[in-house]
């Protein structure tokens, strides 16, 4: 790291300030984690305890046992829905973004504009007509409805991100593949997609996260608690057991496990996605 501009003293001060800010910013997460490990009685103590005096892991254990507090099923549902939405987004967006980056076909500009506009759509506009559509298609109350709906968030995002990746690949690479006898499709699959792999990972990660975070679609298109995603499960539980904070905070922690894992292993893709997705448009 380049720190020649800063004296040692200044470096220390900046580090301390940054750590303090980080502690304040991430306090809600810390507090949720601590609360999830306390007993219900300790949560209601005044003044509050800053760490669990009596360690309580019941709220986590109950999530995999049978009964009202089982969250494992919802977690699995969320996983299936997010993976499904991610697969659809990637499979459709990768070739689409390649087309936008490389070909000046009829209607290119209009389609690009269409993807930009869909990124700005509020879910409310799509909810009611989709609800009626899924009812007519007999898909209401299935994972499929949530998967198809969630992919509509991932696709435009992925197309807009990936077109920049494909545009930055030198055209000579593709031409060389044609000379070697590749067709358009095989050159795309065997040469271009592997080169654009970092971009494809960004799209996969974001499409997964969009699916994982969704509440509106999962809650509206799936009626059975048995098939609903974890966000809807948590929302439902909040309505029924509003003050069981030990369980509620434990659900919250479990729901962010995938997010944490993605953050730990794929941080650079997240930052790249946030910057490229928004600034370039």
């Amino acid at each position: 790291m380049d720190d020649r501009n800063l004296s040692r003293k200044k470096n220390t001060i900046y580090n301390i300030v940054a750590v303090l800010i980080l502690i304040i910013l991430l306090f809600p997460l810390f507090w949720t984690l601590i609360t999830s490990l306390k007993t219900e009685k300790e949560i209601f103590l005044n003044p509050p305890t800053w760490y669990p005096h009596e360690l309580n892991t019941k709220s986590y254990a109950a999530q995999v046992e049978t009964g009202d507090f089982n969250m494992f099923k919802s977690f699995f549902n969320s996983f299936v829905i997010s993976m499904g939405a991610m697969l659809i987004s990637v499979v459709l967006a990768v070739p689409a973004s390649y087309a936008i980056a490389r070909y000046k076909f009829i209607g290119r500009k209009a389609m690009l504009l269409g993807f930009l506009v869909t990124q700005m759509l509020p879910v409310s506009v799509l909810l009611t007509p989709m609800f009626i559509m899924f009812r007519n298609l007999k898909m209401y109350n299935t994972w499929g409805a949530a998967i198809l709906a969630d992919a509509t968030i991932g696709i435009p995002f992925s197309v807009l991100i990936l077109k920049n990746y494909f545009a930055s690949i030198p055209a000579a690479l593709e031409e060389a593949a044609y000379i070697d006898g590749c067709t358009r499709f095989s050159a795309f699959m065997r040469i271009l997609v592997p080169v654009a792999k970092p971009g494809v990972i960004v799209c996969a990660v974001f499409s997964f996260l969009y699916g994982w975070g969704d509440l509106a679609y999962g809650m509206t298109f799936i009626l059975d608690q048995e098939k609903r995603p974890i966000t809807a499960g948590i929302f439902n539980f909040m309505g029924q057991y509003g003050t069981k904070w030990s369980y509620l905070t434990a659900f919250a922690i479990v729901a962010i496990i995938p997010v944490t894992l993605i953050f730990i292993f794929m941080q650079k893709y997240i930052i790249s996605g946030m910057t490229n997705g928004a600034v370039k448009g």
């Binding site: 750590v19 949560i43 689409a96 070909y103 009611t128 009626i132 929302f235 509620l248 941080q267």
Partner: protein, 299 residues
């Protein structure tokens, strides 16, 4: 057949790659948008949804919602919520971006960690803030009491004015990383030499900020604010989970009110009308955004 092959030979071959995604989006986004417009001119509710006997009733839904009081309240709330969130998340995000552009040893890993709030499911964020703002066990009341700022616990989420403050704070928490990262990227593109030569010429820190940073960062600031407006104006989950629009509609946004009309009261057509107005506002702002970003970019 030969003609068709010729059509797809050169640039139009791109159509073959984009058509699957295009058809998908037309089916699951394009069709619903159109269908939502029709729906808002009809009288579809739970009574005739299954039977399919719907009638064209013109602008009746729009006239009804404009006169029902809750809609205008929700519109005002949405504007207040959006502007308040934008101001705070932008200012805090900007300060953080300025801090992280200093090259201290932990700048990058700490900046990375501040991105976490943005990645979390909004339902979880809403739950955390609902807990922290709760009246008796809430840590926020405890801190305010200990600091001597309040004597009695505030009923944050069940009092109209304070409920709005609570949802705004929760949403600002989510919005800060987005502002920080985009402004950081913008700052990193400003050439360091400009600051150095300005220092040599005797400009102080404030002058350097006002004369170099702000003007050069203007395009980034514009797009951060317009995008922030779009993302905040359509927020739904945070408010729905924390307050469901209550108490007495004081936190209803256009998005939550539209949801309530459609899926709590089963007045699908009225819900659609509210959603369309939300969409129309976003669409106009969206055009403004496209104008900003497309300037100077000719593709």
């Amino acid at each position: 057949m030969k003609k068709l092959k010729g059509f797809f030979r050169y640039d139009n071959a791109g159509l073959l790659f984009i058509l699957p995604a295009f058809i998908y989006m037309m089916a699951f986004v394009g069709y619903p948008i159109i269908s939502n417009i029709f729906l808002s001119f009809q009288d579809v509710s739970v009574k005739n949804l299954v039977k399919g006997e719907k009638h064209f009733i013109g602008l009746d839904n729009y006239i009804t919602i404009f006169n029902d009081g809750v809609f205008t309240k929700a519109l005002g709330n949405t504007l207040l919520f959006t502007v308040a969130c934008l101001i705070f998340q932008f200012l805090i995000g900007f300060l953080l971006a300025l801090l992280f552009c200093k090259k201290f040893s932990f700048a990058k890993p700490i900046r990375g960690l501040t991105m976490i709030p943005w990645m979390m499911p909004m339902t979880v964020t809403a739950l955390m803030f609902k807990f922290m703002f709760s009246t008796d066990v809430g840590i926020i009341n405890y801190i305010l009491r200990t600091a001597g700022l309040i004597q009695q616990n505030i009923e944050w989420l069940t009092t109209p004015g304070t409920a709005m403050i609570a949802v705004i704070i929760a949403n600002v928490w989510i919005g800060i990383p987005f502002n920080t990262i985009l402004l950081s990227t913008g700052l990193s593109t400003i050439p360091q030499e400009l600051y150095e030569s300005a220092s040599v010429d005797g400009a102080n820190a404030f002058q350097r900020f006002a004369k170099i940073t702000l003007p050069l960062l203007r395009p980034t600031i514009e797009s951060v604010l317009v995008l922030g407006f779009i993302y905040t104006f359509k927020v739904y989950d945070i408010v729905y989970v924390m307050t469901e629009g209550g108490p007495v509609n004081s936190t209803h946004l256009l998005s939550t009110y539209s949801y309530k009309l459609s899926f709590d009261l089963f007045q699908y057509s009225k819900g659609s009308a509210v959603a369309n107005i939300l969409f129309l506002i976003l669409f106009l702002v969206g055009i403004l955004y496209l104008k900003i970003t497309m300037e100077g970019e000719n593709d």
